[in-house]
Amino acid sequence: MSEAVIDRENGAVAAAQGRSLAGRAVAAVVSRLVILVPYLWLLFFFLAPFVIVFKISLSQTAIAMPPYDPVLSLADGVSGLLEQLRQLSIDNYVWLTEDALYFNAYVSSVVIAAISTFLTLLVGYPIAYGMARAPASLRPMLLMLVILPFWTSFLIRVYAWIGILKPEGLLNQFLMALNIIDEPLIILNTHTAIFIGIVYSYLPFMILPLYSSLEKMDYSLIEAAKDLGCTPNGAFWKITFPLSLPGVIAGCMLVFIPAVGEFVIPDLLGGSQTLMIGKTLWNEFFANRDWPVSSAVAVILLLILIVPIMIFQSAQARAQEQER
């Protein structure tokens, strides 16, 4: 074999190695970008805004644009910035504790959200259970039918209930035509209307995680329990329900957390009497134009929700680990 051939072969190997090195370098840069781009986006548009909300919640209302004071800037140098930082105070939080309106709004939001979440579970469980036990050929279609309303506007679905629930609405017309009631029921602008609205709007969020945990369940366990003399009711509470608990937790969190801060449903169905914190925040911001107080309301709402959000996160992470 001549030296030239060996040289050429060595050259080819070296070139190939060079290419793969370059390829690896490109891949390293690309993978860095894959992580960095969404990371930076969320840091800037999701996390940074919370820091700003927190800072403004410590500011004072001002008649200016932006309507709060101090506006942090480095225009006066570092000492100027320190002077501005000294002006921050917890006055807004003191104000929130002094006015019973806010405290009541937080409590009633949590209570309304908790009751609605429980009702959604009661309505959603039999549906999810029925779907999980349906013939396998029907299941994709049933799943599609649960997801489909989720694609139609939230606002429209809430709006649809106004026409049904109001005193001269379709529900009352129907019940009066059947002679079940003589007087129209007053449902719109009450808590009942809010419960109906939340159960209706968030039902798919409850059904989907319930269904996915019920579908994975091994039904021979129930048959075994029944063979051993367990009643159907006992088998449900001893086997089915505990096994579906991950789905129950995920579903309840998916309903409870957004429901606490819900604005559209209490505003359109609950009327002016209902006190819910999402509505309070909205009014504080749009009607009173008090940015610092609405920021403080948001900070406390976030603190209330941080525990449920962390439960949801860890449930989500656990589900992800299991699938891997």
């Binding site: 700003i52 396998a136 139609t152 039902l203």
Partner: protein, 272 residues
């Protein structure tokens, strides 16, 4: 399995779906009502649709909504897919816990908080509120939904395909575009559609982040709904529902066709 599908199961499914669909069906029916009274049937008519198309304000808002939806869904799909890749492929890097937290938290975050915080960010950096700010806000919350949809497809993805391609000498980037991307494409498409519908439906976040000249259709509908139920709004809602329904049906048909094609290819490959 059939034997265990009891009457109770069937009844609860039927009642459940009646509850889910009846309000929407009633809304659509009453958009064709000739009577101005929304809840009293006065005969069939399409006059509210004619009036809707002559309503300049609603039509302008619809146009803004569609543009915001198209732009934000497209960018959110790119960012969301990258986020999904990060979550499934890079299990070890600094700040991973924070990252997955930032992806999952917006899914449950009350909209009033997201809206307010984004608005305060735009004010703090001196960004004029309008079309741009609404679009940026929509990208931010919808990219997380895209990430979850794409991630669920990536988790079940057979990685030996990628390894085979790389063993045969394909560089990682080429492998991604020729192997990974085509396989996860259905999830990316449904992620885009989800982002688009979330964007055209959003009321609360848009209300906080929009400015003069960037009123979206839900904002317009909301301001009119507060004044009472009108057949014209029923008509607008029906059109929105129709657009979304057509989109979903077309996408699922396309998906099914791709699936059938894939099965046929596989069978052909087995025979050949």
């Amino acid at each position: 399995m059939n034997a265990t599908w009891s009457r109770f199961n069937i009844v609860s499914i039927v009642l459940g779906f009646a509850f889910l669909y009846l309000p929407i069906v009633l809304l659509v029916i009453f958009s064709f009502n000739a009577s101005k009274l929304v809840t009293v049937w006065g005969g069939f008519s399409t006059k509210w649709y004619v009036e809707l198309f002559n309503n300049r304000g609603l039509m302008d808002a619809a146009w803004v909504t569609i543009r915001v939806g198209l732009i934000s869904a497209t960018i959110a799909t790119v960012l969301g897919t990258l986020a999904a890749l990060t979550l499934t492929r890079y299990t070890r890097f600094r700040g991973r816990v924070l990252f997955s937290g930032m992806v999952f938290a917006p899914l449950v975050m009350p909209e009033v908080i997201t809206g307010l915080s984004l608005l305060l960010l735009f004010v703090a950096i001196g960004f004029d509120r309008g079309f741009m700010t609404v679009t940026l806000a929509h990208i931010t919350f919808s990219m997380c939904f895209v990430a979850v949809v794409v991630q669920s497809r990536l988790v079940s993805f057979d990685r030996s395909l990628e390894e085979a391609a790389m063993d045969l000498g394909a560089p990682p980037v080429k492998t991604f575009f020729q192997i990974t991307l085509p396989v996860i494409m259905p999830a990316i498409v449904s992620g885009w559609m989800l982002a688009f519908t979330l964007s055209i439906d959003d009321l609360v976040i848009s209300s906080f982040t929009s400015g003069p000249g960037a009123t979206t259709l839900p904002m317009k509908i909301y301001s009119q709904v507060r004044l009472g139920v009108t057949p014209e709004i029923n008509a607008a809602c029906t059109l929105l529902i129709a657009i979304v329904a057509i989109g979903v049906v077309v996408a699922s048909l396309a998906n099914k066709r791709r699936e059938v094609q894939r099965l046929r290819d596989e069978q052909a490959a087995q025979r050949g």
